[in-house]
């Protein structure tokens, strides 16, 4: 039997910086507009530095009736793969052969219009997803009862609660009947009850012999639905095996946490970004484990083609239970307007953090206006007790920080 999905040496290249090009005058833009179809060709060969491979030589096969999970960190190429499989964008090299009608759900409620009623949106969304009008009409009642929106069918969806909106959107999508279904993370919506209902529906779809490719960050869902899972890393297939084996590998790999962060190539496309963040000891060497009475230095390097007025760099320190311990901000007012790169040092004083594991989140933002960059939980370090009296009863909750609380003891006469 031939595989229903066959992906051979699939690669996708993006040219960075292409979007940033601005044309200063009308004449430029017109000229560039007419040249554009031909200009591509030359650019491609020239700027090797700006080339970023979102996918590189990806090959795999899926047999009819299989439910296959796709996992990987952000930027591993999952979305790009789905976009190519869904024919939204073309690969740069390689080939895919699909033997059956494909529907993809990269988002629920694509094309929903807030001014239209629930009834109208069911038809519109169905048509956008490739359903025929009579097919939608036939399934209409089923869709409505699945979404539990009977009473609000003739209300514009702008008056819907977000829960109702998502339920209706998913209900339309869930009633597609393709041979191959490609799903991206859309189950992470709605309340728990509805999520279970969606999972049940997916399970039902897969049992009816259809083939599903399913991308998710939720390992539990993947484990529940997929027999086989593909792990993508930096645009390549790192593992392609039984779900339990792949998930175990992936979870363990994520445990080795870095005390250093470096932006990936895609970041260079942004207007201002954190290029690297490192946790250093007093001597400036990299370190990831600190005594409670050591100072922890955090060094952040940023790049920007132009400074934003009023921008600040924020560091959020979270502990192992994901509780925010404190936040520190650096105002960047002292930097000149033409600064292209700058670094910020935060030093956490000794005897501040309790023994625990910590992660750092960084944000470049303009207060009350704009978040330019947000990178969450990117560097990790731990603090251990090198001999306080608390060490003897480790595990008890002594609070988040050592506080320099002043204490005075007196006998009352």
């Amino acid at each position: 039997m031939k595989p229903i999905i066959k992906v051979e040496n699939l690669s996708k290249q993006y040219r960075l910086g292409a979007r940033k090009k601005r044309h200063s005058t009308l004449l430029d833009s017109l000229a560039a507009g007419f040249r554009a179809p031909f200009a591509n060709f030359k650019n491609r060969a020239r700027n090797d530095k700006n080339i970023f491979w979102a996918l590189k030589d990806v090959s795999f096969e899926v047999m009819s009736g299989e439910v296959v999970g796709i996992i990987g960190r952000n930027g591993a190429g999952k979305s790009t793969l789905l976009k190519i499989l869904s024919r939204i964008t073309r690969p740069t090299a390689g080939e895919i052969t699909l033997r059956g009608r494909v529907e993809s759900l990269l988002e629920v409620g694509t094309g929903f219009h807030s001014e239209l009623t629930g009834r109208e949106n069911i038809f519109l969304n169905g048509a956008i997803l490739g359903m025929r009008r009579e097919e939608i009409a036939r399934k209409f009642d089923e869709i409505v009862s699945f979404a539990e929106v009977e009473k609000f069918l003739d209300t514009p969806v702008k008056h819907y609660s977000s829960g109702m909106y998502v339920r209706l959107a998913f209900a339309v999508a869930a009633h597609l009947e393709p041979e191959i279904l490609i799903v991206d993370e859309v189950l992470a919506v709605g309340d728990i009850e509805f999520q279970n209902k969606c999972l049940g529906k997916m399970d039902e779809v897969s049992k009816s012999g259809r083939t599903i490719l399913f991308v998710s960050h939720q390992m539990g869902t993947i484990a529940q639905l997929c027999q086989r899972t593909i792990l993508l890393e930096r645009g390549a297939v790192a593992m392609n095996d039984k779900t339990s084996v792949v998930i175990e590998h992936y979870v363990n790999q994520n445990k080795t946490k870095d005390a250093f962060y470096a932006a990936n190539e895609a970041a260079a496309n942004r207007e201002m970004y954190v290029e690297s963040a490192a946790i250093l000891n007093e001597d400036g060497g990299g370190q990831s484990s600190f005594r409670h009475d050591e100072r922890v230095r955090v060094n952040i390097k940023c790049r920007t083609p132009r400074m934003f007025r009023g921008v600040e760099l924020r560091m959020v320190v979270k502990d192992g239970r994901n509780i925010t311990v404190f936040t520190a901000d650096a105002e960047l007012v002292s930097l000149r307007q033409n600064t292209e790169a700058f670094e910020v040092d935060f030093t956490i004083p000794a005897v501040t953090l309790r023994p625990n594991a910590y992660s750092l989140t960084f944000a470049l933002f303009v207060p009350h206006q704009d978040i330019i960059e947000l990178i969450e939980d990117v560097v990790h370090f731990s603090v251990f007790d090198s001999g306080t009296k608390y060490a003897q009863s480790e595990g008890l909750d002594y609070g988040l920080v050592f506080s320099p609380c002043e204490t005075s003891v007196k006998t009352i006469a």
Binding site: S29, K83, R87, I96, T97, H113, G130
Partner: protein
């Protein structure tokens, strides 16, 4: 994307490489109902939450006709008119308003529907086409007013009116083509959004909408004929009012319209695979 049938399964091959004309007619046919739904959405949404709804579509041509009528019958006068001036102006304006608004809508359609373009597959050409067709509803309502006005002025219909749909069809094809072409450019160069209103305004002045081409000298009239709208406007009027057709300018219009359509289709099919990456 080549499709073939092997056994019962429909096979889709996704490959890199662009060609100048990879238009998949079968695929387009499968999605034909989407055109209807998008047109229907645009019309519904356009007049939702407006107090007078579709009347807006009539106000623009009617008021503009009234203003032109005052100007060109009170302050200036055209001698070579075969019909009362309001009829002349309204017939031209209906075509122009349709062409103008369709090109504007279609030219911005891919960007306005970027949420669809980046999330779902369907033949992209559906987007500018449906944006254009939405304007036809407004045109139809305006046409009813024109018929009423013709009745009022006692202009009798001749069998030539059967040719009117041909000229409306040409106007649609011209609008779809220009709209599609600008929509394609607009994906990469947002300058189009700002250039378009300006270009359309110039186009209006060099088209015989509120003046007959007869007022121009021979030299300028030939230049005017090179405007694809000239033949369409004059042909539309001739078919409505039963006057003589200028086959020369109509032939030029047909030729230019077909040329525009071919160029637009070529450019569009060449670029459409990259839309999601650039929009």
């Amino acid at each position: 994307m080549a499709k073939e049938i092997e056994g019962t399964a429909e096979i889709t091959r996704i490959k890199p490489g662009k060609s100048w004309l990879n238009f998949d007619l079968k695929d387009f046919w499968h999605y034909r109902e989407l055109i209807y739904f998008l047109v229907w959405r645009d019309i519904k949404v356009r007049y939702k939450q407006t107090a007078i709804g579709i009347v807006w579509a009539l106000l623009q041509p009617v008021l503009t006709t009234a203003i032109f009528t005052v100007i060109f019958t009170q302050f200036a006068r055209f001698d070579s008119l075969d019909v009362p001036y309001p009829l002349f102006a309204l017939s031209g304006l209906l075509i122009w308003i349709f062409v103008n608004s369709s090109i504007t809508m279609a030219g911005n359609s891919l960007i306005n529907n970027s949420n669809l373009v980046t999330k779902v597959y369907f033949p992209r050409l559906i987007v500018p086409i449906s944006a254009t067709l939405g304007g036809l509803v407004d045109f139809a309502f305006g046409f009813l007013i024109l018929l009423g006005l013709m009745f009022y002025y006692g202009v009798s219909l001749s069998p030539q009116i059967l040719l009117a749909p041909v000229f409306v069809g040409l106007a649609v094809l011209l609008a779809v083509s220009c709209g599609t072409f600008f929509a394609t450019l607009n994906v990469r160069f947002r300058d189009v959004k700002y250039t378009l209103p300006f270009a359309l305004q110039i186009w209006m002045f060099v088209s015989p909408i509120f003046y007959p081409s007869g007022v121009l000298s021979e030299k300028w009239r030939i230049l005017l004929t090179l405007n694809p709208l000239t033949g369409i406007l004059e042909g539309f009027r001739a078919s409505l009012f039963g006057t003589a057709f200028d086959w020369f300018s109509i032939a030029i219009s047909v030729g230019l319209t077909l040329l525009t359509a071919s160029v637009a289709l070529l450019v569009f099919t060449r670029m459409e695979d990259d839309f999601a990456d650039f929009i």
